[in-house]
C-alpha cells in the first residue's frame, strides 16, 4: 500500500484537496497534485507516480486526452488510471473506457467507493505484472 505514489489531477483545488485527504485516510501518504493534463504530463516526468487519478473536464489538456497521452507513451502506458468526474452519461463512460482508463467514478465519490476502485485496479494490474 505504502509503495504507491498517486498523481491527483483536477483543476478544482477543493477537489484535489478532498481526493488527497481521502487517499491519506486510506493509508496512501505519497501523493502529488497537478491542475490539468499538461501539468500532469510534467509531473509524470519528474515525480514518477505509480497511479493516476484524474478529472475529465480541465483546461489546457483534459483527462481524456491525458489518458490517451499516457497510453500512447511507452514509458507510462501501464500506469493505472482512475477517472473521477461529474460526467455520468453512458457515452462518456464508454469513451473513457475506450481511451483505456482502468476504472471510472462519478462525482460525488465516497471514500468507500474510492477504496473499492483502487483495490480492484491494483488487484488486476498486480496480477498481470
Amino acid at each position: 500500500m505504502a509503495d504507491h505514489k498517486f498523481l491527483v489531477v483536477d483543476d478544482s483545488l477543493t477537489m484535489r484537496r478532498i481526493v488527497v485527504n481521502a487517499l491519506k485516510t486510506l493509508g496512501y501518504e505519497q501523493v502529488v497534485e497537478a491542475q490539468d493534463g499538461k501539468d500532469a504530463v510534467a509531473k509524470l516526468m519528474t515525480e514518477s507516480p505509480t497511479f493516476v487519478i484524474t478529472d475529465w473536464n480541465m483546461p489546457e489538456m483534459n483527462g481524456l486526452d491525458l489518458t490517451k497521452w499516457i497510453r500512447a507513451n511507452g514509458q507510462f502506458e501501464s500506469i493505472p488510471i482512475l477517472m473521477i468526474t461529474t460526467r455520468g452519461n453512458k457515452d462518456d463512460v464508454i469513451e473513457a473506457m475506450k481511451a483505456r482508463v482502468n476504472n471510472y467514478i462519478v462525482k460525488p465519490f465516497t471514500p468507500q467507493g474510492l477504496k473499492e476502485k483502487i483495490d480492484q485496479i491494483l488487484k488486476t494490474t498486480e496480477a498481470k505484472a
Binding site: L13, I18, T25, P59, F109
Partner: protein, 236 residues
C-alpha cells in the same frame, strides 16, 4: 385606413401615405424603446456574470477554509489516537509488572510479605479500576467516529466543485444571450459596435460539465460500473 374599410371605399394614395407617416412616427419611438431596453439588458449581463464569478470564488475560499480546519482536526485526532495508544501500552506494561510483583511477594517469607502486599493492593486498586478498559474503548471509539465524521464533511464539500460547474454553465448561457443582444444592438446602431458594453470573461478559462449534479443516488455509478464490467470482462 380603418375609415376606408368601414366606408368600403378604396383609400386614396394621399390617405395611405399619411397613414404610413403616422405609423412610422409611432414605430420610431417604439423601436427606440426596444433599442434602449436591449442596450440596458446587455449592459447588465457583465455585472450578472461578475456576480456569479464572485459567488464561485467566495464558495471556493470558504470551502478551502473548512478543509483547512478539517485537516487540522484530523491531524489532532491522529495525535490523540497515538498518545492514547502509548498510554494504553504503558498501562498494560504496568499491569504485567504488578502481576510479576504479586507472584514474587507470594514467594517471600510470611513475616516480610505484609508491606509488599499492601503496596501491591494499592497499585491494583488503581490499575484494576473496572472503568479503565471501558474508558479506553470509549475514547478510541469517540476519536475514530469524530475522524470519520470530519471525513464525511470533507467529502460533502465536493458540492462546491459541482455547483461551480453548474454556475459556469449558467454563465455560459447568459454569455450566449449577451452575444445575441449585442448582435441585435449592432444592427440598431447601423453596424456601429456599441463600444461601451464590457464583454464578460469571468468564466473564460472554466471548463465545465453542464450536466454536473450533486446526487448521492447510486444509479449513475451503477451504470458506469456495468460499462466498466463489460469492458474488463468482469475483472473489475
Amino acid at each position: 385606413m380603418a375609415d376606408s374599410a368601414v366606408n368600403n371605399k378604396p383609400a386614396s394614395g394621399e390617405r395611405v401615405a399619411r397613414d404610413l407617416v403616422q405609423l412610422i412616427r409611432e414605430i420610431v419611438p417604439l423601436l427606440e424603446n426596444v433599442r434602449h431596453s436591449i442596450e440596458e439588458s446587455t449592459s447588465h449581463i457583465p455585472k450578472a456574470s461578475k456576480q456569479l464569478s464572485n459567488v464561485t470564488q467566495a464558495t471556493e475560499s470558504a470551502t478551502v477554509e473548512i478543509l483547512n480546519v478539517l485537516e487540522s482536526m484530523t491531524n489532532r485526532i491522529t495525535q490523540a489516537e497515538e498518545k492514547l495508544a502509548v498510554v494504553k501500552r504503558s498501562v498494560e506494561k504496568t499491569n504485567n509488572a504488578v502481576r510479576k510483583l504479586q507472584a514474587a511477594v507470594v514467594a517471600l517469607p510470611e513475616a516480610q510479605r505484609k508491606p509488599f502486599e499492601e503496596a501491591v493492593a494499592d497499585v491494583n486498586a488503581q490499575l484494576g479500576d473496572p472503568g479503565r478498559d471501558e474508558g479506553f474503548r470509549l475514547a478510541e471509539e469517540f476519536l475514530a467516529r469524530t475522524k470519520e465524521e470530519s471525513m464525511s464533511i470533507a467529502i460533502s464539500l465536493q458540492v462546491q466543485d459541482i455547483t461551480s460547474q453548474q454556475i459556469a454553465g449558467v454563465a455560459h448561457i447568459i454569455e450566449g444571450v449577451r452575444e445575441q443582444l449585442a448582435s441585435a444592438l449592432f444592427r440598431f446602431e447601423n453596424g456601429t459596435a456599441a463600444t461601451d458594453i464590457e464583454e464578460p470573461n469571468h468564466f473564460k478559462d472554466k471548463v465545465f460539465d453542464t450536466n454536473a449534479q450533486y446526487s448521492k443516488s447510486p444509479e449513475r455509478q451503477s451504470d458506469a460500473d456495468e460499462i466498466v464490467r463489460q469492458f474488463t470482462n468482469g475483472k473489475q
